[in-house]
């Protein structure tokens, strides 16, 4: 058994013994696939760390990383850690129209983190002028290109488990991005649990494939740091390549006989839709024993459809692993048992709404909804459900009662960087408030939705996701681009229920018909009377940088009337995490083209 209670730096130095396993980087336009053994990684990252020290950075200083290329990112991130410098990953810019918003966001993160250096590529560097002038602690914006060939020596630093490893800025749906402080101890604790208990990884033997963006916790911790501790080989694809040709993800797993790969719900849905039968015939997915799903709400039907479609390629539906986690928990909170596939609980929507009770119901019966089982939490970690108003976490609620999920254990962050008030609010007693509503059955965790976004009508609670799901089923509605919320004006006697959807239809009559159908479907499914149904053009709904629906922001825009004035062109169309990635990749180069002129 490998001792996993080590810093990332120690893990990397230990892994350097390995001359067979390491990181492989696939790039779209290149046929070669550079492979770096952990021994190589140790040597290369020492040079990157040395280059950062040569810039005058010292242990504890922050360096912001805006690096769309996977190889650059991995080496720079690990290089910084070796020098004790704290990396702050930032997603790459997102399109000319939203450049203003992007720069504002980036400036906020650079300022808030007190980063002294921003490390980026030459193209993005040209866009960051306002960031340079707006952040007082920032000394330089450094292009990565000369660093790649740097020969600076690393001056060893003593790094301990309680040192800060990096800051993970999360884009909350309600507030400006906050920097979650992740220590080496957090990483070591979480990695040990999800690698050993969650995935039962065989050190040096299992191998993974990932196209996930590395500025996000699932890609970074799950598919860079986890494998590093256990010396497993990882192969990276650019997120863009996956979006263009989803089959490349599966081909890579097939060709390299990989055993572990994760994606958000949409990735499985995209493969199901886009991969051709002829391609499936060429795939062998029989080695893929852990097909994880996380980072966004999980629909059992999407995962099942994927499993059915790829069964002829040897995909085992039992490999499906619907997981639960968040940045404040480092990464993983719960994993189902390996080999059980997607398990769900069918409950009565009526009881859920009226009494916050998840009472078992007959699948397929009227008003029954299916909730995905996200498994149990890990050893020396605990999850319990509390009334959101239980400020000290004194009275855990019994099984099948819905409340706020709370988490504690060594994986939990100490708080947000330089945000004492937000940090205080994030905890109830010594439990982390996840902000997610859910329930537990025999330790298994079921997620219903975000607590702040509950729609409450006449004392009854409705989850917006359920209304949105119903609306999404109507032809003409852009799937996944529906937001439901409750709103209450001063003179209203009750909360009004609003469903907003995007449509690509332009014909007035056709749109009116879709509006009617949406109202009817949601009414029939929930028994709620819908006060307003709003149709919007494609790309108008607000999303977070990672593509999550911004319900509270949509409500605000609705209440002020701004929602009706928005156009797709003005706002850009951040639709889904995938599309945000697309934009972030296609956008910056285009911006560069325009700005140069």
């Amino acid at each position: 058994m490998i001792d996993s209670m080590r810093t990332v730096v120690q893990a990397l130095e230990d892994a350097a013994e390995s001359v067979h396993t390491g990181f492989r980087f696939i790039e779209e336009a290149k046929t070669s696939e550079p492979f770096f053994t952990y021994s190589d990684v140790e040597r290369v990252t020492a040079r990157y760390g040395g280059a950062m020290q040569a810039m005058g950075l010292k242990k504890g200083d922050r360096i912001a990383l805006i690096l769309p290329n996977n190889q650059d990112f991995v080496f720079a991130f690990l290089g910084a850690l070796r020098a004790g410098i704290v990396p702050v990953p930032i997603y790459p810019p997102a399109g000319l129209r939203r450049l203003g918003g992007y720069l504002e966001n980036t400036l906020h993160i650079v300022r808030k983190s007190g980063a002294r250096v921003v490390l980026t590529d030459g193209t993005i560097r040209r866009l960051l002028g306002t960031v340079q002038s707006g952040a007082t602690d920032l000394q330089r914006i450094q292009a990565i290109e000369p660093i790649r060939s740097s020969r600076e020596r690393l001056e060893p630093e003593k790094i301990s488990l309680d040192d800060t490893c990096f800051l993970q800025f999360t884009s909350g749906s309600t507030s400006a991005p906050k920097g979650v402080i992740i220590s080496h101890r957090n990483i070591a604790s979480n990695v040990r649990r999800f690698m050993e208990e969650g995935l039962e990884v065989e050190a040096g033997v299992d191998s993974g494939v990932s196209w996930l963006p590395l500025y996000h916790d699932m890609g970074l911790i799950g598919f860079v740091l986890g494998p590093l501790y256990y010396r497993n080989t990882l192969t990276y694809l650019p997120p863009m390549l996956f979006l263009k040709r989803p089959v490349r993800w599966l081909e890579t797993i097939s060709r390299l006989r990989a055993t572990i790969s994760f994606g958000p719900n949409f990735a499985y849905a995209l493969c199901e839709k886009r991969v051709r039968d002829a391609d499936i015939e060429r795939l062998d997915l029989s080695t893929w024993r852990a097909a994880g799903c996380g980072a966004e709400p999980i629909r059992a039907s999407d995962l099942r459809a994927f499993a059915d479609r790829f069964a002829p390629a040897g995909f085992d539906h039992r490999a499906m692993l619907p997981c639960y986690g968040m940045a404040e928990a480092t990464l993983a909170i719960s994993f189902p048992r390996l080999g059980e596939g997607v398990r769900t609980d069918t409950v009565g929507a009526e009881d859920l709404a009226a009494e916050l009770k998840a009472n078992a119901a007959q699948p397929g019966s009227g008003g029954a909804i299916e909730v995905v089982n996200c498994g149990k939490t890990f050893e020396d970690h605990e999850v319990a459900v509390f009334d959101p108003k239980d400020e000290a976490s004194e009275h855990p609620l019994p099984d099948r009662v819905v409340g706020e999920l709370r988490f504690r254990g060594p994986s939990v962050t100490s708080g947000y960087f330089d945000e004492p008030e937000l940090t205080k609010q994030a905890f109830a007693g010594d439990w982390l408030r996840t902000g997610d509503m859910g329930y537990i059955i025999d330790g298994d965790i079921f997620i219903c939705g975000r607590q702040k976004e509950l729609i409450i009508v006449n004392g009854r609670n409705y989850y917006p996701q359920d209304l949105e799901w119903e609306a999404s089923s109507i032809d003409g509605v852009r799937k996944g681009n529906v937001i439901a919320f409750g709103t209450r004006r001063p003179l209203d006697d009750r909360e009004r229920v609003v469903v907003v959807f995007e449509t690509s239809l332009t014909d007035r009559d056709a749109r009116a018909a879709v509006k009617n159908a949406v109202g009817k479907a949601v009414r029939q499914a929930t028994g709620l009377s819908i006060d307003d149904v709003v149709d919007l053009d494609a790309g108008v709904l607000p999303k977070t940088s990672s593509g999550k629906l911004r319900r509270n922001e949509t409500r605000r825009l609705y209440e002020t009337g701004e929602l009706f004035e928005r156009t797709s062109a003005r706002q850009g169309d951040a639709i889904g995490i995938a599309k945000e990635i697309v934009k972030s990749q296609i956008g910056y180069a285009r911006d560069a083209l325009f700005i140069k002129k």
Partner: protein, 92 residues
């Protein structure tokens, strides 16, 4: 093989039409996302199909977010010309 402008337009229209709203009026000035109801993920699918048809890799930076059908045609023609020049140089 070499392509005339009309042939390129025809191919692009054909691929785009498969992803556009059935009633959509497709012109060279149509924006893929805003006018034709094509979401960003489908834009990626279109790019992949065009790459196969024209046997090239289209760099994403050549396809802006608000890309029109004409932008797509231009990006492909730039690529085709570059390829032709390469061939000319090689044959000299």
């Amino acid at each position: 093989m070499s392509w005339t402008h009309d042939e390129v337009v025809k191919e692009v229209r054909y691929v785009v039409a498969e992803h556009a709203e059935p009633e959509a009026d497709i012109t060279e000035r149509s924006e893929l996302v805003a006018d034709l109801g094509i979401d960003s993920l489908s834009v990626m699918e279109i790019v992949a199909e065009l790459e196969d048809r024209f046997e090239m890799t289209i760099d994403e930076s050549e396809l802006p977010n608000g890309a029109t059908l004409g932008d797509v045609v231009a990006a492909i023609e730039t690529r085709l010309e570059a390829g032709d020049k390469l061939k000319e140089t090689a044959s000299v």
